[in-house]
Amino acid sequence: MILMEELTKRYGESLAVDTLSVEVAAGEVCVLIGPSGCGKTTTLRMINRLVEPSEGRIFINGEDTRKRPPELLRRSIGYAIQSVGLFPHMTVEQNISVVPSILGWDRSRISNRVHELLLLVGLDPAGYTHKYPTQLSGGEAQRVGVARALAADPPILLMDEPFGAVDPLTRERLQQQFLSIQKELRKTVVLVTHDLDEAVRLADRIAVMRAGKLVQFDTPERLLASPTDAFVRSFVGADRALKRISRVPVTSMMQPVKTLVRSGDTLSGDVSQVPRFAWVTDADGRLLGWLDTAQSRSPDSVFEIDAAQVEYLTVPDSASARDALSRMLGQGVRSIPVIDESRRLLGEVTLRSIEEVTAE
């Protein structure tokens, strides 16, 4: 979808970008990452011609980007930057409406689109359409920025450290939002960041750059498992194993468990088949707690997991192996149950299974 061919950008004597060739497939999230000054932002800005390449070409869907006037090109590419750049004199609605109104959409279509986009980024339209940028928090402004970038439904989205200017908690929420939006919309995204955790979390493929050159272009798994040279190895960091398992969903590595079922006052199930500390569910398969079968077989002795403890004694099915590991270490246990939204027990993750995954 986006083909960058031998891209070079020269400023006087120095090369900001040096014969970069990258292809981004349609629907893929490609993250450009590297140390400061490696040329990742310059590369991004060459895609929408905010910076003109000194040499090399960029093709979008086979068409050379130099063919059309830059303004027209940019209207079909979403652009979101770190400082957001919302127009202070316009409301949230007016900000988001900018590109659609330039493209000549009619009023009702635009206002429906604004409504739809605010819901997509997790903001209540009734509360936000009439607000001004000065009334928004950092996280809210970032979301509006993303909504604005998506307004005309462009197939391509360019993002320059979009989640950099907020606190870590908000950043994680925004990243989560991004992943769910991307799952739904399947845009072709080129995202620049300096945060490797963010790259590992969001990318389908990561392009590591250094001094203007492309050093490695791989999926996060392959990048973490086999860094090509010393630079990438040190860039990726010594705890690549942990980073790797953050991409492994628990559902892909959990093991089935035999459980005991408690209905009312009775406890049923084959005690010989379950481990010493057995999980106890209700008749519908919902996790109630656990029982030390060596101590007692009575339903009253079931150690119940109440609502407050669920968060750290279990992992949801949307979690990663890293979350499971973190919880096990935190609780000092060797296994942890995986539950779905209705608290139904789906399986179990053990320390041993995590070791096996990491060893691959």
Binding site: L50, L72, Y79, V84, G85, F87, P88, P133
Partner: protein, 391 residues
């Protein structure tokens, strides 16, 4: 609750007010040109009034030294609003009494005490009102009481005997005409100046190379004293109008409104160019990058983002230029352009201080009115999202 009442200014004001008790309140002269005789407070007012005024100032002094509370602020504001019309009323009545048996050409002018206590009263009123910012209604009422009462008293004829009034009644028609001319010159010059200066300011931001020469020229013009600039324009303009009779038909001659207008236009350039430049420069670069990145053309970016965001500063520049223009136009009367300066220079020529005062006060009043109008206009034109809290 502690109020950040700057009562030190109120204290200063009250000290000035107390001091004014000792200064001359009126100057009476048998004719416009004669030597004047100073009249003290006791000569101007009866004992009761004199004691009342003195007492009020002492009370104000005492209040200003106490900790600043809301009650204090209200009390000071009321007292200040009372003392202003009271001072003028006293002077007016005193003048009437003193001139009762005098010939018609006799004049009673306001003395230093009155001016000092008016200033003092203004200090007290203004600072106590600033402590009441959270009560806009009460504040507005208190602010308008003093000028309102003074106006009412004026209409009722309380100030008829003052020399200032005499000058006024003698020149009413001329005053109206010259005010019209003054407005036309001041506002017209700013309007034309803005038409030139705003594009120049825009050019200065867009093209680096024009920035220096534009500012250099505008600043240099600004440093030339107004009378000198008028003079510099007179000769070439006279030569032009001599060479081209068509210009003379239009009324463009070496002296008069034409050179004044040209000079005033030139003066209004710098504040407007400077503020236009600053206004455009302070537009958030992130907003401009985002705008360009989303596909706005240069023209769309300028008109939909840059210019609206620069309006508040450009407006301030025009406001500054307007007030400046009102002041400079007063000098234009000297070269035959008319305007309220006429009274100032006539008063100077005839050694009639109250005529000078008439002209000067009119110019000041005009400037204040235009300033208020300009501020409201700027507020209305500022895009909603940019208005600060409390605007």
């Amino acid at each position: 609750m502690e109020y950040p009442g700057p009562s030190r200014v109120a204290t200063l004001g009250s000290l000035m007010g107390v001091a004014s008790l000792a200064l001359p309140w009126l100057t009476v002269r048998s004719s416009r040109l004669a030597e004047g005789e100073s009249i003290s407070l006791l000569g101007t007012a009866n004992t009761l009034t004199a004691v009342l005024i003195a007492a009020l100032w002492v009370v104000v002094l005492a209040l200003s030294l106490r900790p600043a509370t809301r009650m204090n602020a209200y009390a000071l504001a009321c007292l200040g609003a009372t003392l202003l019309p009271l001072t003028l009323l006293t002077a007016g009545m005193g003048a009437e009494r003193l001139l009762a048996d005098a010939p018609a050409v006799a004049r009673a002018s306001l003395g230093g005490a009155v001016w000092l206590s008016l200033l003092a009263g203004y200090f007290v009123l203004h600072t106590s009102l600033s402590a009441l910012k959270d009560r806009p209604c009460a504040r507005r009422v208190l602010m308008l009481i003093a000028p309102g009462l003074i106006l009412l008293l004026g209409l009722l004829g309380a100030f008829e005997s003052l020399a200032l009034s005499a000058e006024f009644t003698g020149n009413e028609q001329r005053l109206a005409r010259e005010t019209g001319r003054h407005l036309a010159l001041a506002l017209g010059s700013v309007f034309i100046g803005a038409l030139i200066a705003v594009p120049l300011g825009i050019a200065a931001t867009r093209h680096r190379r024009t920035e220096r020469p534009i500012f250099l020229i505008a600043s240099t013009i600004e440093t030339v004293p107004s009378l000198a600039l008028f003079g510099l324009i007179i000769a070439p303009l006279a030569a032009l109008s001599f060479a081209y009779p068509a210009l003379r038909e239009l009324g463009i001659r070496g002296v008069g409104a034409a050179p004044a207008l040209i000079a005033l236009i030139l003066y209004s350039l710098l504040p407007i160019v400077h503020n236009t430049y600053a206004g455009l420069k302070q537009v958030s670069p992130a907003a401009l990058d985002a705008g360009r990145g989303m596909g706005m053309s240069n023209r769309q970016l300028s008109w939909r983002v840059e210019y609206p965001l620069a309006i508040p500063l450009i407006g301030e520049g025009i406001r500054t230029a307007t007030i400046q223009s009102v002041g400079n136009t007063a000098v234009a009367a000297l070269i035959g352009a008319g305007g309220l300066g006429h009274f100032i220079f006539q008063g100077l020529g005839q050694a009639a201080p109250d005529l000078i005062l008439l002209g000067a006060l009119s110019v000041i009043a005009l400037a204040l009115v235009l300033d208020t109008v300009a501020r409201s206009a700027i507020k209305m034109l500022t895009p909603r999202g940019l208005r600060r809290e409390g605007d």
